[in-house]
Amino acid sequence: MILKLAYKNILGNGWRSLINVIILSIVLTGMIWMQGLYDGWGRIARRQMIAWQFGSGHYEQVNYDKYDSFTLDKSNAALSPEMEKQVADGKAVPILYSAGVIYPQGRMTPVVIKGIPTQQSILAIPTEYLKIADKSAPVIPVIIGKQMAKSTRLSEGDQFTMRWKDIYGVFNAYDVVIAKVMNTPVPTTDVAQVWMDYDKLNEVKALNNSATLIVLKDKPVNSDLGSDWRYLSTDDSMAGTDAMISAKRVGGYVIFTLLLFLAMVAIFDTQILSIFKRRKEIGTLIALGLTKRQIIRLFTLEGTLYMLLGTVFTGIFGMPLFLYFGIKGYSMPVDVSSYNIAGMSDSIKCYYSPIMIISTFLIVMLVTVFASWLPTARIARMKATDALLGKV
């Protein structure tokens, strides 16, 4: 009975109710969409980083610190015979890092040189282009990413000089040619990176079969590889990217917290006005035998009904949007894609997990109930006789 009365009342409120419902459904749609976007982004970033950079887990030479490029030339260790076998079996791929400088058109640009075996199939990097046909040829083939090509204004076939120091600190330099500009979606395999043959890099670094990273095809059963190596699972590798995405997500939350606040204010305001306008009705309901508690419940329910109608609206009007972004995906605006986070280059397919949808719904619901209930304190303070006279 109370539900029916509440429903009739909010229909009776007309456009004011409609605005509340629309605001709520915008908040709901927006929150679900945004979270779906970030969840989708996280998933695609993970997929891409597995495919392009980290495989199903990887080892890092213990000296390596990705935040300190000074460690680059100190972090390498020779592969153990067992690991060499795994590499030969196609279960692991070693990658050697080196600090370096390139001089495209005489402009000096610091880079990280990465040596990767040409016949690997674990990572998506098109390493077949790195094959050195003629060992005595003075020019080494290299691969760079699209962003790198753009920032250095280089394209396939371009030659330039690359300089580095070997492990003894001796300067060495060769001319290199861009054999391939690859379209990698993972910025950490692209920006300021030059890929070349693993054996050649070992040779010019005065090393022998040494690596900085060993990327694995499958999760290892036993991840201990001795004191030279530190194991990082996919989750470990993703931590930084996940954190960056979370940071962006927080930015989005701020907007929707504001919108939610707006919705709350709208409902709060509607409730205040409604209680004021209907004080005589409140008195009548008391006279008819309703307790104040029942009347408070009635008014709170009315506010909460906005939420339920908002949900219905979201279902009807949001669904095509959700489906579109879930199936077609969303391309990040250009200015955003300059952030160095994986997953940005592809269109991101939103991912809506039931937990996310339910928790979003519950949060908005809770806020709505609260905003609806808060003004009803006036009802509790009201005297029936005054209410009947239209006094508050």
């Binding site: 009705e281 006279a287 035998g289 309703l290």
Partner: protein, 232 residues
């Protein structure tokens, strides 16, 4: 002697004001029996509505006793007094106080919903009440589509639908023209006679007074006269 439904003993009501208090009712001793068609008369401010509200347990006295259907109303909890009103007391207001979002049928049905009656029982009772007031053809109308007289008749039906023992009517004719006033008075009197429901009015309308079989005159919160009349 008939059964006494309402009884007040040395009942006083005052409101605190800036300094001291304002006495609305003073030392009221009254009793109403089943089947009475009684009215509180007097100029505005004489305490008629206050007395009606206290009897209806919408308000409580400051001193003395008020016993309605055997219960001292000032000792009832919010839930108990709500139950008393929903089961036994019907209210009729000067401004009808119909719920604007409900149609005629729903407005009349509302008190029954609180009594948790079955749909069938409710329908029967609502139709019966609307028959008394002659509005069975306006079931689907909204309050704002009704004339003043029709509105008040709906409110009478709403008060009567649960077959209360007491109906309290506060200036029921104040907003109506003579024809409509007489019409609803006829209706109420008919109900009073057929069902034995006790009616207590507050009014200063002579047309109403003419219908009453007992007129209690209040002046400045005190009972001035209590006249029994032969019914019209």
């Amino acid at each position: 002697m008939s059964k006494i439904l309402i009884e007040t003993k040395h009942m006083t009501k005052y409101y605190p004001t800036g300094e001291g208090k304002f006495t609305a009712l003073q030392d009221i001793n009254l009793s109403f029996e089943k089947g009475e068609f009684a009215g509180l008369v007097g100029p505005s401010g004489s305490g008629k509505t206050t007395l009606l509200n206290i009897i209806g347990s919408l308000d409580t006295q400051s001193e003395g006793e008020v016993i309605v259907l055997g219960k001292e109303v000032s000792t009832l909890s919010a839930r108990q007094s709500a139950a008393l009103r929903s089961k036994h007391i019907g209210f009729i207001f000067q401004t009808y106080n119909l719920l604007p979002v409900y149609n005629v049928y729903e407005n009349v049905e509302l008190p029954l919903l609180l009594l948790k009656m079955s749909t069938e029982e409710r329908k029967k009772a609502v139709m019966e009440a609307l028959e008394w007031v002659g509005l069975t053809d306006k079931l689907k109308s909204r309050p704002n589509q009704l004339s003043g007289g029709q509105g008040q008749r709906v409110s009478i039906a709403r008060a009567m639908v649960k077959k209360p023992q007491i109906v309290l009517a506060d200036e029921p004719t104040a907003n109506l023209d003579t024809e409509n006033s007489l019409h609803i008075l006829d209706t109420m009197l008919k109900i009073n006679r057929e069902t034995g429901t006790t009616f207590v009015f507050s009014t200063h309308d002579q047309k109403v007074v003419n219908y009453l079989n007992r007129v209690i005159t209040l002046v400045d919160g005190k009972k001035a006269k209590d006249d029994l009349k032969v019914s019209v």
